[in-house]
């Protein structure tokens, strides 16, 4: 995983940096990679660079591997995990390298917001809908229906920034207090600046293979115990309950069933906190808490790093940053570190971990459950 933040490197260089680090860590030569997937939302729109799987395969000497770009907007990383898992589970590949990345910070906030908002339906786009505005709409409804205090959302930001202090790859390794969050500028009422993730450059990579192959390289690895993907409406307002993300619910149920576990068996989770409200919606949709109860968990410290279910020990997208195509890969990398016992000061006790990567405003969702290898 590369440093997340404002980087001088462009997309090809970011992807190659994370990819080479992954190859070195796994002890795999590039030429032995059979499939190479690149998770990326918009390198053409952001940078004018297309064809990146081929470019990166050449840069990593991963020829003649089969390559493909995986675009599922903000959940491109999770979708890449799905494709990489599928390539191994189907028997098509014995060594699959997945690299997720995005280069965004050379664009203004308005331009980057527009590139991301281009995923919306024409009926939404013409009204100037953005992902942050969907978050504001949803947060207001959530607070209204569940009689939740505004401060509960701010506490998500406080918690995740605190976690990010111990993540050397995070964009913001700096705590923020409740007052700072509550007094920061309004971005999409009732949400304020610190309720939103930043615009970020960065890349992360993972190596996938059958357990039999993994054992040729190492005694320590993590397995994908369950994975599920689901899609909700493209037009967000057609969802009759704006505070429920059906894609989260559906993908979670598929992943739980495949893993043969339930929400109570999860020890640590990385959720897609692109906006603070999303941590509540996902923690409820995945069954960690009852509907409308997610806000109480943050108030009670249940999801703190030393709580009963630590959520976003990496700092989350909120603190670590959100280079679109990299985020889902980086979430899985954090769970990998937690299960391997290599998370350093962020380490929690965990045998089973979950990552939930959200595209659009819950339009596409990938949930991945991992366990330490036997």
């Amino acid at each position: 995983m590369t440093q997340f933040g404002q980087r001088d490197s462009w997309i090809r260089e970011l992807l190659a940096e994370a990819g080479q680090a992954c190859l070195d860590d796994a002890g795999v030569d590039g030429s032995d990679v059979e499939h190479l997937y690149v998770s990326n939302m918009a390198s053409g729109e952001f940078e004018g660079q297309t064809g990146i799987p081929n470019a990166v395969a050449h840069d990593l000497n991963a020829l003649p591997a089969y390559t493909a770009r995986i675009d599922q907007t903000s959940s491109s990383g999770g979708a890449g995990v799905y494709s990489a898992w599928q390539s191994v589970a189907s028997g098509a590949s014995d060594l699959t390298l997945l690299i997720g990345g995005e280069k965004m910070t050379h664009r203004t906030t308005a331009e980057a917001t527009d590139v991301i908002a281009s995923l919306t339906h024409p009926a939404e786009y013409k009204h100037g809908l953005t992902l942050p505005s969907f978050a504001g709409l949803t947060a207001r409804r959530y607070l209204h229906v569940h009689d939740a205090p505004r401060e509960s959302l701010a506490k998500v930001a406080v918690k995740n920034h605190k976690n990010g202090v111990d993540n050397p790859h995070a964009q913001f390794q700096k705590e923020v207090d409740l007052e700072t969050v509550m007094e920061s500028p309004i971005i999409a009422d009732p949400l304020r600046l610190y309720d939103f993730c930043p615009i970020t450059d960065g890349s992360a990579a993972l190596m996938f293979c059958p357990e039999s192959v993994a054992k040729e390289y190492t005694d320590e690895y993590v397995t994908i115990a369950g994975i599920g993907g689901a899609t909700d409406t493209h037009v967000v307002h057609e969802r009759m309950d704006p505070t429920v993300m059906a894609g989260v619910v559906e993908s979670g149920e598929i992943a739980y069933e495949m893993a043969g576990i339930g929400p109570d068996d999860v020890d640590v989770a990385e959720l897609h906190d692109m906006f603070t409200i999303l941590e509540f919606l996902q923690s409820e949709g995945l069954g960690f808490f009852e509907k409308g109860e997610g806000w109480k968990a943050i108030e009670e410290g249940f999801t703190d790093r030393d709580g009963e279910l630590p959520i976003n020990t990496s700092g989350g997208l909120k603190s670590k940053g959100h280079p679109l195509g990299a985020s889902g890969v980086a979430q899985v990398y954090e769970i990998y570190q937690q299960l391997m016992g290599t998370a350093g000061p962020r380490q929690v006790e965990a045998e089973t971990g979950l990552a939930c990567n959200v595209g659009g405003f819950g339009n596409c969702v990938i949930t991945t459950i991992m366990e330490a290898g036997q």
Binding site: E45, A123, K126, H127, G128, G136, D189
Partner: protein
């Protein structure tokens, strides 16, 4: 109510009405007729006022999700508000606007879609 372009929703064989329309509805069938939502009032489900707007969009941009009641059938829509002096549960009516944002200022190809539509005006 307006004499301008209709706020066109589609009714499907199962009775459901969707705005915008889709080639097939929730029951998997094609729409059987159109419904002009500009002839109805709606209730505010939620709203926001966005200050970080993309190129070509007014700042701040007040937006609401509203629900129409078309003869007992609920129909949701999203759109700009004429004001941020609004509350959840308030009644609004559609008000036609020739250009909701500046075509070509953003990334979307100007010719690929319409740019006119309806803002919601609180009336009660």
């Amino acid at each position: 109510m307006s004499d301008n372009s209709p706020m066109e929703a589609a009714r499907y064989p199962d009775g459901s009405i969707l705005y915008p329309s889709h080639p097939v509805g929730p029951d998997g069938n094609e729409p059987v007729e159109t419904v002009d939502l500009s002839e109805y009032t709606a209730e505010v489900i939620t709203w926001t006022s966005s200050t970080a707007t993309p190129p070509g969009v007014r700042q701040p941009n007040h937006i609401a999700i509203v629900e129409f009641d078309v003869d007992g059938e609920p129909v949701r829509a999203i759109g700009q508000l004429t004001t941020d002096d609004v509350e959840i549960g308030q009644t609004v009516e559609p008000e036609y606007v020739e250009q909701l944002r500046e075509p070509g200022a953003g990334i979307r190809e100007p010719e690929s879609q319409a740019w006119d539509g309806y803002r919601f005006e609180p009336i009660e």
